[in-house]
Each structure stands twice: as structure tokens, then as C-alpha cells.
Symmetry: C2
């Protein structure tokens, strides 16, 4: 262990904020993915922008990489410090810096989680609606341009960020936007830093748009005979202009898995989980129109949640879904996260399901079909190399096919470690522009090195 490094850090930010404990190094070596863990040299828990500037200075002096760590809920290894160095844990930077209900904005530190944020603001009738399932940190969500079940209505993180305070690799501090709702002044650095996965700078404050909590919500689910019918119904709902809040496809295998592990009893068929919100009249109207469309597409078992409890059960089940596959004892998993043009969705879902079925492995297809974004999750025995390669092959084929039909290899999880291999295929000549921006802003490759680009 480099005692000089530890001494410099403790002198700069204080002993209680620097850790080389086994538990801390272990925790910061991994995320929710199956990528091999790598422990950092040291974990720091800063409490202010000034401390992060100090940490970056020390990292430069010791020529060490710096990797930000939010809630650890990432799904593609973004927070794994593959070149070791300093992990910056943001959990003590979880304050609301400025809440402006009259502007429908809030400025937070990156370490606050979305549930912590909503708990503070919901009582004012406002919400931050982006919902990736996990109680991720706002910083992590911003870094990966996360989205989730409500993106069909509210878009991704990039659509919600008005301003970022960012510390660049050289220690200078910039603001990427303002508190105005829109701007045509200068290049759009907001959008560039959102989704840059900690590779261009370290965020220290994030200004977000907020939204009113709708008066009324209707939750419903229905089933279909085939995944194709399910995806086609979703497409027709979108094209009708109905304002869905959530529209989730969950295939029969996934329903079976969630019934098994979560003590639910949903009909074990390909399903759409739907939510509508607005005024009473508009949400009810949207739900009724959707029911008609669903029945036209051969939908069955249309069930409205009659109570908040029933509605909560539905979304809890949807959120548990990925965990129900991921946390099977002794088993590993590999996941996909493609997003394709809506017209390609039905065929893509069928293709993914077929690959899983042919492999004989346990796996599910589910996702945010309102955006053309869906996930595959395939479970394998890490001790069986054939299973591991079969699982990887499925997600690889799905990612390549998604790019081939005009889509992207990542709808919301980010590139991290797992999607680097598709960057050339997806972005072509634009990849060298991206790499040159990285080189421009982080010439020493100090910030989360080895992510997005090799």
C-alpha cells in the first residue's frame, strides 16, 4: 500500500473520509453486473466540491485514475476501477442544494438517490419521475443517461438535466448549462456530460427539472398469446397518441420467474403492464382507449388495479423482475439493453426470445417497449463454460441485430465495460470524434479509464 498516497488524502480531506478497509475495497470493486471485480487502492468519501478538487490534485500528483461510485447499482461495470487508483464514493454528498418549486427545478449533490430526492419533494406536489427501478443515485443516473419505466412519458436523464457543475481532469470547474428551461446559447455541454460515465469530468451538482404529481393514475395489465402480438399492441398504442406513463413488456418466462420468487400470481403469459396518469378524465380516457386497442390486438385478461396496493404490487413485481433472475444462488447472468426503432420491436423481441429458447438456458425478455427499449437477461452456471458462452452469444447477437436495424446497443444502462465492443459498429466514424473529445478533456486518461473506449 502506498502510505504516502493515504497520508496525502487524509491530510487533505480528513482521516474519516479515507478508507482502505477490506469491506470498503470489496464494495467498490463491483456493481450489479457479472464483470470481474477489481479493488481500488483507496476509497474516499468527500463531502464537498473542494474536497473533490483536492482528490483530483492528489490523483494527478500520484498519476492515479479516479473512478466515481454512486449507489453501486450500475449494470455494466461503470464503477469498477479496472486500473485501480482512487474510488470516490458520493454517499456523503447527498444534499439538496437548492429547491425551487416555483421554477419546477431542484439542484442536488450527485450522491442523493432518487427515492431520497422524491421523499423530500413529493410533499410539495412535485416529483422527479425518472425511474430505473433500482434506488440509484442521481449522479449515477446522470452519468449513464438512465431512464426506465417512465421514459415513454418523461424521456431520459438527458431530457431532465438543466445544469451540471463539473470538475474537469485539470481541476477547473465548469457549469454546463443554466436554470433556464431551454437555451440556444453556445454548445450543448449538458447533453455531452450526461451519459459520459464519469470519463469527462466529475459532477458535483446537478440541476434537474421537476414535474407535478398527476392527480389520477390508472394501472392495468393484460396478456397476449405471442410476444409479437404484445409488441404490436404496444406499437399501436404509441401511434394512437395516447399518453402512456409506463408501458412494460414482460414475457411469459419472466412472469413465471417473478411469480416463483416474489409470491405473485400473475397469469403466466406475455404481458403488458400499463400506467396512465393525468386528470381523472384524461387518465380514464387513455386507459379506456388503450383497452380497446389491446382487445383489437388479441389481448386477454385485461385487469385494472382496483387499489393503490394492487398497483404497487404490479410495479414492485416489475422492479423485482431483474433481481429474480440475477440473484439465483450460484448462478451468474448476462444482460442486454438494446433500443430499436418502434417498427423493429416486434421482430426483435421474437428474435431474442427464440435465441434464449434455443439455448436451453433460463432467461427473460422484458422492457420499456414504449421507447423500443428492451432487456434480455440470461442465467448461466459460471462453472459451465458452454453455458457462459451461450449466454454471452445471445446478448451479443441481440446487440448486433439492434444496431443493424437502426438502433443502439444500450438504451439506458450505458456502455461501461460490456458494450465497448459495439461502439465501432454503432458509431462508425463518429467514434473517433468521441475519442478525440475524451482526449481533449482528459488527456492523461485519468477519469474512469477503460470505460466506453478501450
Amino acid at each position: 500500500m502506498n502510505t504516502s498516497l493515504i497520508n496525502q488524502l487524509t491530510e487533505s480531506v480528513g482521516t474519516d473520509k479515507v478508507s482502505i478497509s477490506e469491506g470498503d475495497l470489496y464494495r467498490h470493486s463491483r456493481d450489479e453486473s457479472s464483470h470481474p471485480p477489481v479493488e481500488p487502492d483507496v476509497v474516499v468519501y468527500p463531502e464537498s466540491k473542494e474536497e473533490i478538487i483536492e482528490i483530483l490534485r492528489i490523483a494527478r500528483e500520484n498519476d492515479l485514475p479516479v473512478t466515481p461510485f454512486g449507489a453501486g447499482s450500475g449494470l455494466d461495470g461503470h464503477a469498477i476501477p479496472i486500473n485501480k487508483g482512487i474510488s470516490i464514493n458520493f454517499e456523503r454528498m447527498n444534499k439538496i442544494l437548492s429547491f425551487n418549486p416555483e421554477d419546477l427545478t431542484v439542484t442536488v449533490q450527485p450522491g442523493i438517490t432518487r427515492k431520497q430526492l422524491n421523499k423530500s419533494i413529493n410533499r410539495h406536489g412535485l416529483q422527479f419521475p425518472v425511474d430505473p427501478g433500482a434506488d440509484a443515485s442521481i449522479g449515477g443516473m446522470t452519468a449513464t443517461n438512465a431512464s426506465g419505466t417512465t421514459a415513454v412519458r418523461y424521456g431520459s436523464m438527458r431530457d431532465q438535466v438543466l445544469n451540471l457543475e463539473v470538475i474537469l481532469a485539470d481541476g477547473s470547474v465548469i457549469n454546463t448549462g443554466s436554470r433556464a428551461k431551454k437555451s440556444s446559447s453556445g454548445y450543448n455541454l449538458n447533453g455531452l456530460f450526461v451519459g459520459s460515465e464519469g470519463t469527462l469530468g466529475i459532477m458535483t451538482a446537478i440541476t434537474l427539472k421537476l414535474h407535478g404529481i398527476p392527480e389520477h393514475t390508472v394501472t392495468a395489465r393484460c396478456t397476449f398469446k405471442t410476444p409479437k402480438a404484445c409488441a404490436e399492441a404496444a406499437q399501436s398504442i404509441l401511434m394512437s397518441g395516447i399518453q402512456v406513463l409506463r408501458m412494460e413488456l414482460v414475457d411469459a418466462d419472466s412472469i413465471r420467474q417473478v411469480n416463483l420468487t416474489g409470491e405473485h400470481s400473475f397469469p403466466e403469459a406475455h404481458s403488458l403492464f400499463l400506467e396512465f396518469s393525468g386528470t381523472v378524465a384524461s387518465a380514464e380516457e387513455d386507459a379506456n382507449l388503450t383497452k380497446e386497442l389491446v382487445l383489437e390486438h388479441g389481448g386477454e385478461n385485461w385487469e385494472r388495479a382496483d387499489s393503490a396496493a394492487e398497483s404497487n404490487e404490479l410495479w414492485r413485481a416489475r422492479h423485482e423482475l431483474a433481481y429474480s433472475f440475477r440473484h439465483i444462488k450460484g448462478m451468474a447472468n448476462s444482460g442486454g439493453d438494446v433500443c430499436v426503432p418502434i417498427s423493429q420491436l416486434a421482430d426483435m423481441v421474437v428474435y431474442a426470445r427464440k435465441l434464449i429458447d434455443e439455448s436451453g438456458l433460463l432467461g427473460g425478455v422484458f422492457g420499456h417497449v414504449g421507447d423500443g427499449n428492451f432487456h434480455t437477461l440470461v442465467v448461466y452456471d459460471p462453472g459451465e463454460s458452454k453455458q457462459a458462452s451461450a449466454s454471452a452469444r445471445i446478448n451479443d447477437l441481440v446487440a448486433r441485430k439492434a444496431i443493424e436495424v437502426g438502433g443502439t446497443c444500450s438504451g439506458e444502462h450505458g456502455v461501461g465495460l460490456g458494450k465497448m465492443k459495439y461502439q465501432e459498429l454503432e458509431h462508425g466514424a463518429a467514434l473517433s470524434v468521441m475519442k478525440s473529445i475524451k482526449q481533449l478533456l482528459d488527456p492523461e486518461n485519468r477519469l474512469n479509464p477503460g470505460k466506453i473506449f478501450s
Copy 2:
């Protein structure tokens, strides 16, 4: 005249696409602003990406700047070739390259205007809703991140662009996105190029999101005793979560001007022009709730448009408004385009109105208050230097104040020539990041030089 240059161009793209006619040079020397005109050396009318690659090659060989020209409806001199060189006119590149109604997307060449586009797609029940008033080209709208009356509902151009095909200064071609509705793969080049005003690359194809045409629309207007009451009513409508499609503030002086020039007879008071759309039930509900809020804020003269003709008259008047100030014989004008946090809007509007009143000049305050974005337009006699400087002073003070209260000097017009002087104040240290990106992608400063940065 450089005959060698003309020969190279005509040999590459054909005689009929190259012009040095007086009329062409004059037309490409100016836009709708009062910035001093500068004629290009030559105007080229390419019909393909390949021809633009050739034009860029010839520009490099002759060390000449290249300035793109859309519909000429820009408001801050973006298309003025201040260092002369080659103006590229996009009017022959106005095709729809690919229309995908089932994806709710369309790919167009940059020269198509928004009305041309809508004419083609409206019959399929789809629309491209961004509406800056003028029949601007989609390329120009993308280059300035334009928005307009419907931004409160649909956002700005940046929110609508899924992919750009761009030719970089060195002649290489990149795609900045894909046809997927969202992506977390790689850096967000879409957002970087949208709003970059032709300074980073030349767009040759633009993929846009499309939207269903709502079933039902309600248009209404009302008046207020003070601009402050008007802005406060707008703020409360926003905070209530009502889905407005348009919400325009038009101050009494502007109403007077438009009545005068357009043969309208609107009540000459500070007004809100409003529009709601959706299903019959939701649009009617939104309009009724808004009426209640307006009355609570002292609103008067609530009038619904009873027919499509009445509704059209209202929006025609709103669109003519700027022209009614701009095209007064013998007079010049200077305009502002600030966007501020919603909570600052009422005070800002009062501040702007007061400055105009104190100057004794004719001028209006109006704009898209649902976004906190408003314009000032002040008319002056260009022969009277005191008037010119008083007019400039008003817009200068409004821009500086907007930045001071957390906003931006341009909500939708772009930087062009007029807003360069505020870039340092607004962006601080981030400006050097923007400049280094420009340097990275256009090291010879060939692409629309002298815009955004000096």
C-alpha cells in the same frame, strides 16, 4: 473575382449550381436581423452530400470559409458570411429521404422547410410540431436549436433530433445518433451538433421524431391589467400541471402594433394567447381549468376561438407580430431572446417593459412564457445614433439581467453575431471547453467562422 475558384466549383458540381449573380450575392449577405450585410464570394446550390464534400474540399484548397444558408429567416446573423468565401444554399436539398410513420420518424435533407415537411406528413395523421413562426428550413432550425410557440409541450429542436448526418471540416462523414428513441451508447453528439450554428460541421440529413396530430384543439385568449399579472398567471398554469400546447404573452404595445398593421381588433391590453390539445375531454378540461386560474389572477376578456378560422387568425396575428415591428418603413430594430427560470419571469417582463417605456422608443415584449422565454423588439431610426444606442442598450440590459438571474441570453434564436458578447458572462469557464471543441473539429476555422465565438 477568383475565376479559378469558380471554375473548380462549376467543374465539380455543375454550372447551374454555382452563382455569382448580384441577386444571389445580395440575398446571401443578410438575414432577418439588422446586422450589417456581407456578400459571399460565391453561392453554391448543392443537391447531394457528395457535392457538399466537394465544395468543402475546394474550400480547403482555396483556404476559404464556408457558411450554410437555409431559408434566411435567422434573427442574429448566423448565415451572414462575415469573412466572405462560399455560401452553401440548401434550397435544392429539400427532400424527404425516408418517412417511417410506424416509427414516428422522418429523415429529411436540411433545406426542407417546416411547412413543406408538414404538408407531406399531415395527411398521415402525423406532424412535426416545432414552430418558430417563420417557415424556416429544418436545417436552420436544427443549427440554432430553434423552438417557438409549441416548445412548452414538445421542447426544442434538440429534443426532436434523433440523428444527424454531418460532414466535418476535413470532409469525413459521421452520424451523430441512430433511429432509436433513446440511447446511452457513447457521447451525445446529437445534442452537441444541434445548436452549433454550422460551426462544427455541415448537416446533410436530419432524422426527426414525429408526433400524432391531436384529435381536438382549444384556442383562447385573455387580458390582464399588468404584464406582471400576465406572467404570474402563466406561472400558475404551468405549476398546476395543465398540458398547454402554446402559451404566449403579448404585451399591450405589441397588440396595438399588430392591430395597426394586420387589421386585427384584439383588446389592447397585456394578453395571453393559449392553446390546448389532446382528446376532446382532456383539451376541454385543460382549457376550463386554465380559465379558472386566469380569473383568479385577475384575467379579463377570456375569449375562446369558436372556429378554426378564429383560431388561425389568432396565431397568424402572433406570427405577424415580430414582422409588424421589424418591417416598418425606414426603421431598424434590435431584438432580445432571453430565457429565465419561471420564477424570474414576471419581474423580467416588467423590467424589459420599463426600459422600453423609459427610452421613448416603440417596442414590444412578447414570447413563449411557458418556457420562461420572451423577446423584446425595439424599433429605431437607423439615422439617429441616439435611438440606435438606446435600443441596443435595452436589449443589452435585458440579456445581462437574464444571465444574472440564472437564465440564458438566447432561448431559441442562437448566438450568431449578436450574442457573442454574452458568452463569457453566461458560460464562464465552460466557454473555453466550447472553444476547444471548435478548435478540435474545425482547426482551420473554416466552418461559419466568427459565429458564437470571436
